[in-house]
Subunit: 494 residues, 2 copies
């Protein structure tokens, strides 16, 4: 029962990824380059991930807000590193459409000249930025609502769309518009803010492992790879089956950089004014890309049970059979409150139906025919197993619970096994190049240097993914041969 | 216990509205004109409304999708009435920021000249529209996924932000960016599509009455007031305490207008190609403005229990009293799974605390002091009542359930009473003018005429809100004195 519309993973990984997205009805392109439509399956996966993160955030007192998409260009200019980091990929808004009467005249050259004329009147400093991230508006918000130390800490989060003008786009992984949560917090002390940044990354760790079943390496970014404006950036890095790393999420300690640029002050216990210490953190819809690549196979999507849009499908093997219909009804009734279940009693062939559910990542397909009724069993096809299983209908709930748990574990263990087998330690640049060309996740002693990181990227395509820990005294940098500062992971990345 | 920061409703309605938004911590302005920050209270209200609508939509088989914000200008041009209706208030995206090295030079004139130069290269037809509504992309999506009649109907909804360049903005009621759901459906027949448009408005009716406790009048829009590109627009119109109508939501039957412009065809039962019949419908965050105005008073927000961010507050009247603390703990434990509850045991004064909760629309404030412990009672202040009530702690759950239900009813009845008393029937233009000047919701026999509607608006500021029903044979138009076509409601509006 091979799915012929899916390009084999082994023959062309990138074409495999695209065919999964098509066949599993996840996304469509539009005529704006780099924009995608999230079809119901993909949007539901995101909503399910969102709910898990939101629940964890609520437990630590985070409140959701919603900030405007448009940012004043003058405001955006205040934190120099921040604007420097984002300027090349930021969209601006300038003007309304030409006069509608002109538009309706359908005279193209007239419309265009009116359009250009309307744009010439805007200077950059009167202009509006479309948010690539929302630090600037959160700062404005904090400045306005913060009075005294009694108000601190403030933990605000928003779920929103952000916009970046990307040259090379791929559905979920890199698009002009994507969805994320951005958590922004302000605190009285440096220590409290750093603690929050780490607490946030711990929440991401829990979600990634337990819900997405994705293994990862946790570490701090090198100076060169830090978020624009941050003092520390913590990251979770995963590895895709093609040997490219994926940055899953990041949590930043911003220090007082933004607080000073945007004047976020409060009255402390001694009636003096202090600047706050700040953090921000985000996880985006690019994780859907990671989720697809980590688990899926040549029959389509493989998803953790928690995140499968249709968790269970029921297929009656015959039409107009009262006993079969009653059995289907009873099964549906007993599980529909706990699982997302769909019945397919259409005229399509059984092979088509099974393929159709497997490609969408459905974990359990329950077959009910004459034979099943006679033997008082249900035939079950589990997404990651070749053999069909027969179970007693009375055991169904227990079966789903236990096998569901195991299924999640199996997914995680399989991915973890691959990740661990891909980590290679190297001692010099020759070994490094060889390992990178073999699509490995490379561990190396390194002396942090922006210049050398850029040189390494130019020569091999690999970037520093994160720092494992500090180097020992006699560790030599694999690249410069100088005293190493850190043990760093390198890989090519999405 | 009057709240001095709230401008009295009677003295200046508009200033009252603004002061409620400030004091109840609902929204902040930013430096981009017409943009607002939704603070946690306002965003939670929207999330609660969203959940109710989403649950109803799910029951009828609606699936959520997410479409891009950017629309290709060429695509936008295809439905002539649609573009004509939206062009004046649509933003466009043109270009990235100037080169970051120039930005960092901080040389303003250089930045500005580079910025203008980069804009001159874009012609309108290469340009990108920021969605004012998403018909165009939904059409693109439907065209791509629709094959045969087996696929129909398709009911897709999205929760998103949309953008319109408004001259006069007010928080929630009219902003450059707002949030809404937009439901888009396609069908095989005209009848099925019209039925869907009416089914959608029925869901809105249920939510408005039961959840928002807002009374409304249901009707169809006049030709002049229809959605750009629609054949029929159904609307729910409410009336604010200042006598201005508020369009709460709309549901449109679009016929085949968009299907033909965007080529949305399917293979029918006879293997021939047919265009679909389409609907769209939306309810936006402007309803939060309506909710605030409908119920609130000079002490702040009044909200239906279902939608209050903090439904119940518990205030211990003494600190470090073991009996009081235990009682507070037990009460919290017994109700926190069912209600959003907050405890205020800070050092602030009792008056301040009560004001603070009342201004945020908290429905029940529970006071627990020595006196309460001694008498084994709880003192309760209900948001819409002057007298405090004493109840037995064992009756609390029952009390909250019953009084909660009644509270919702009281809010609805009070608002309905006002609305009904504001409806005035008129027979001629003099009566019409007088009624409009008295801020009434005016019912009049009218002969539909775009020219006359525009004339009436110019002379009185009033617009046709909706059609009540068809006119009788001898009914004369109050304005033109010709044979009337319809009985129409008029009012000034938000």
């Amino acid at each position: 029962m091979k799915n012929k519309n899916i390009v084999p993973k082994e023959s062309n990984f990138s074409a495999w990824y695209s065919s999964i997205i098509n066949e599993a009805k996840l996304a469509l392109y539009t005529s704006v380059k780099g924009s995608i439509i999230f079809l119901p399956n993909a949007w539901l996966i995101w909503q399910l991930i969102k709910k898990k993160i939101d629940d964890e955030f609520k437990k630590i007192g985070v409140k959701n807000v919603q900030l405007p998409t448009f940012i004043n260009a003058n405001d955006f200019m205040k934190e120099v590193k921040h604007i420097g980091g984002f300027a090349p990929e930021t969209f601006t808004v300038s003007t309304c459409l030409p006069n509608p009467s002109k538009l309706l005249s359908n005279n193209d050259s007239q419309i265009t000249s009116e359009f250009i004329a309307s744009k010439q009147n805007t200077s950059f400093h009167d202009s509006i930025i479309i948010r690539p991230t929302s630090e600037v508006i959160f700062c404005d918000c904090f400045k306005k609502i913060l009075n005294s130390y009694n108000d601190l800490p403030i933990l605000y989060n928003q779920w929103c769309n952000v916009f970046r003008n990307e040259k090379n786009t791929r559905p979920f992984l890199r698009t002009n518009e994507f969805y994320w949560q951005e958590l922004h917090t302000i605190h009285q002390t440096e220590q409290e803010a750093i603690t929050q940044a780490i607490k946030t990354i711990k929440i991401y760790k829990k979600i990634l492992k337990n819900e997405l079943c994705m293994p990862f390496i946790y570490g701090e970014k090198t100076i060169n790879e830090r978020f624009a404006g941050a003092i520390k950036t913590f990251t979770l890095e995963s590895l895709m089956p093609d040997g490219q790393a994926l940055q899953c999420c990041t949590s930043h300690y911003l220090g007082q950089n933004f607080a000073k640029a945007y004047d976020i002050k409060y009255q402390n216990q001694n009636n003096q004014f202090d600047y706050v210490y700040q953090t921000s953190a985000g996880l985006s819809t690019r994780i859907i890309g990671g989720l697809i690549m980590t688990h899926s196979d040549n029959n389509g999507l493989v998803l953790p049970l928690n995140l499968a849009p249709i968790q269970i499908a029921i297929i009656p093997l015959e039409k107009n059979n009262l006993q079969i219909n009653n059995c289907v009804k009873n099964i549906l009734k007993s599980i529909k409150n706990k699982y997302r279940v769909e019945i397919d009693d259409s005229d399509k062939g059984l092979g088509y139906k099974i393929n159709n559910y497997q490609v969408q990542g459905t974990v359990f397909i329950i077959l009910i025919g004459k034979n099943e009724i006679q033997k008082n069993v249900l035939t079950i096809i589990q997404r990651n197993q070749h053999e069909k299983i027969e179970i007693n209908p009375n055991n169904l709930k227990h079966f789903l619970k236990e096998n569901g748990k195991n299924y999640q574990k199996q997914l995680y263990e399989k991915a973890k096994c691959f990740f661990e087998s891909s980590i290679v330690k190297v001692n010099n640049f020759d070994e490094f190049k060889q390992a990178i060309n073999q699509h490995k996740f490379v561990e190396a002693k390194f002396k942090q240097s922006t210049k050398n990181e850029e040189e390494i990227k130019k020569l091999t395509g690999a970037t520093a993914r994160c720092i494992k820990h500090k180097a020992k005294k006699n560790d030599k940098c694999f690249f410069s041969n100088e005293q190493a500062t850190d043990i760093v992971y390198f890989a090519r990345s999405y």
